[in-house]
C-alpha cells in the first residue's frame, strides 16, 4: 500500500518534470525582438558618450583647480585689520616730506604658505584738536582717496589724488574718529 503511494509520488514528480521539460523545449527558441538589441546598443553608446564627457569634465575641473591654486599661492593675501594699541601719539610736527612710518610686526602664522603680505603703516595722525588717547578705542580698516593724506599734511602728487589707499581709522569709545594712519601693503 505504502509502496504504491510512493510509486505514485515518484510518477507524479517524473510527470511534472516531463511537463516542465516540454514547456522549456517549447520556449527554447523564444527571444526578444531585434529592436530591443538596437535599443540597448543605443543605450550603451549614450552611456559611453556620457562617460567620455564626464572624464573630460573631470580633467578640465582638475586643471582649473590647479590653475586657481597656483594663482592663489602667487597672489598676496589681504591682511586682516590690525587693532591699534600704539601708545605713542602721532607726531605731525614736522610737515616735511619725510613720512614717519613703522613696519607692522609680523604675525606668526601656522603655515608659511598663508603668510599675509608685509604692511607698512604711518604713525597715527590726530583728526581732532586735542590729542586722543591712542591706547583706547577700535581701529577700522577703510579705503579712502589719497587726497585724505593731504588733509593730514602728507605730500601727494596731483595726478594721484583720486587713487584709493587703505587707512586705519581709530574710533574712540564715544564713537568719534580720532586719528588716522595710512597703510601700504608690500
Amino acid at each position: 500500500m505504502r509502496g504504491d503511494r510512493r510509486g505514485c509520488v515518484v510518477k507524479a514528480e517524473q510527470d511534472i518534470i516531463a511537463a516542465l521539460r516540454a514547456l522549456a523545449g517549447a520556449d527554447s527558441a523564444v527571444e526578444a525582438s531585434p529592436e530591443l538589441e538596437a535599443r540597448v546598443r543605443q543605450a550603451f553608446r549614450a552611456r559611453q558618450a556620457r562617460r567620455k564627457w564626464n572624464r573630460a569634465a573631470t580633467w578640465m575641473l582638475a586643471a582649473a583647480a590647479v590653475l586657481i591654486a597656483v594663482l592663489l599661492i602667487r597672489q598676496p593675501h589681504p591682511r586682516p585689520a590690525v587693532v591699534a594699541r600704539d601708545p605713542a601719539p602721532a607726531a605731525v610736527a614736522d610737515e616735511s616730506t619725510t613720512i614717519p612710518v613703522h613696519i607692522a610686526a609680523p604675525v606668526k602664522q601656522r603655515h608659511a604658505r598663508s603668510r599675509p603680505p608685509r604692511e607698512i603703516v604711518t604713525e597715527f595722525f590726530p583728526l581732532i584738536d586735542a590729542p586722543p588717547p591712542m591706547d583706547r578705542g577700535e581701529v577700522f580698516r577703510v579705503s579712502v582717496t589719497a587726497a585724505a593724506m593731504r588733509t593730514v599734511g602728507l605730500p601727494v602728487a596731483e595726478d594721484r589724488l583720486s587713487d584709493r589707499v587703505q587707512a586705519d581709522v581709530l574710533v574712540s569709545e564715544e564713537g568719534l574718529a580720532t586719528a588716522i594712519r595710512f597703510v601700504k601693503q608690500e
Binding site: I16, A22, D27, A32, V40, A43
Partner: protein, 194 residues
C-alpha cells in the same frame, strides 16, 4: 556599413568567455557588449516571460537588465557566481519590482486544468496549461521552478540568483513541483487542494 562590421565583430566575439567580454564592455567596447547581449539576452528574456507571462514585461525587463549591466557591470564578482547568475539576479529583482507595480500580472489566480494534462504533453494547448500553472505558483516557488526546471540552472547557480542557500532552493523547488502536480491533476484541483 558600420553596423555590419560591428555585427560581424560581435559574432566572432561570442566565443570569448563572459569575463573577458564584460571586461572589454566595461572598457567601452560596443562589439563586446553586443556579443554579451547576444549570448545572454534570450535566457534573461525567457526567464522574465516565464515569470510574468507577458511579452511586453519580458522585453522591458530584458532591456533594464542590460542597461543595469552597462551602469553597474563592475559590481559583478566572479567569485560569487557566474555572469548568468548575476544577470538572473538582476532580472529577478526587476520582475519583482514590476509585479509589485502591476498587481494584475501577479493576479493570475487559481489555475484549474481542463484535462489530465500530464498524460498528454504533445498538444500545444497542453503546454499552454503548464505555462499557466507555473504562472499561478506563488513567486518564491515559481522562481525556483523557472530557474531550475525551465532555465536548467544548477542549484548553486539558482542560489546565487535568488540570493539564498542551496537548501532553500531545493525545498522551494520540491514544494513548487508538488503544487504544480496537484494543479495539473484535474481531480486534485477540483477538490480544492491548493
Amino acid at each position: 556599413m558600420l553596423p555590419e562590421v560591428l555585427d560581424r565583430a560581435s559574432d566572432s566575439m561570442i566565443e570569448m568567455g563572459d569575463a573577458e567580454l564584460l571586461e572589454r564592455m566595461l572598457a567601452g567596447d560596443e562589439t563586446a557588449f553586443t556579443a554579451l547581449y547576444r549570448a545572454r539576452h534570450a535566457a534573461v528574456y525567457r526567464f522574465a516571460l516565464q515569470m510574468t507571462g507577458s511579452v511586453v514585461i519580458a522585453e522591458d525587463v530584458t532591456q533594464e537588465v542590460f542597461i543595469a549591466l552597462i551602469e553597474h557591470g563592475r559590481r559583478f564578482d566572479p567569485a560569487r557566481g557566474t555572469l548568468a547568475s548575476f544577470l538572473y539576479g538582476i532580472a529577478r529583482n526587476m520582475v519583482r519590482r514590476r509585479m509589485e507595480k502591476d498587481r494584475e500580472v501577479e493576479a493570475i489566480g487559481e489555475f484549474a486544468a481542463e484535462d489530465d494534462v500530464l498524460g498528454d504533453l504533445t498538444r500545444q494547448e497542453t503546454i499552454g496549461q503548464v505555462r499557466r500553472a507555473v504562472l499561478s505558483l506563488p513567486g518564491m516557488y515559481r522562481e525556483a521552478v523557472v530557474l531550475c526546471d525551465l532555465q536548467d540552472l544548477s542549484y548553486d547557480e539558482a542560489a546565487v540568483a535568488l540570493d539564498c542557500p542551496v537548501g532553500t532552493v531545493r525545498s522551494r523547488l520540491n514544494r513548487g513541483r508538488a503544487m504544480l502536480a496537484r494543479k495539473l491533476r484535474c481531480g486534485a484541483i477540483a477538490g480544492g487542494v491548493l
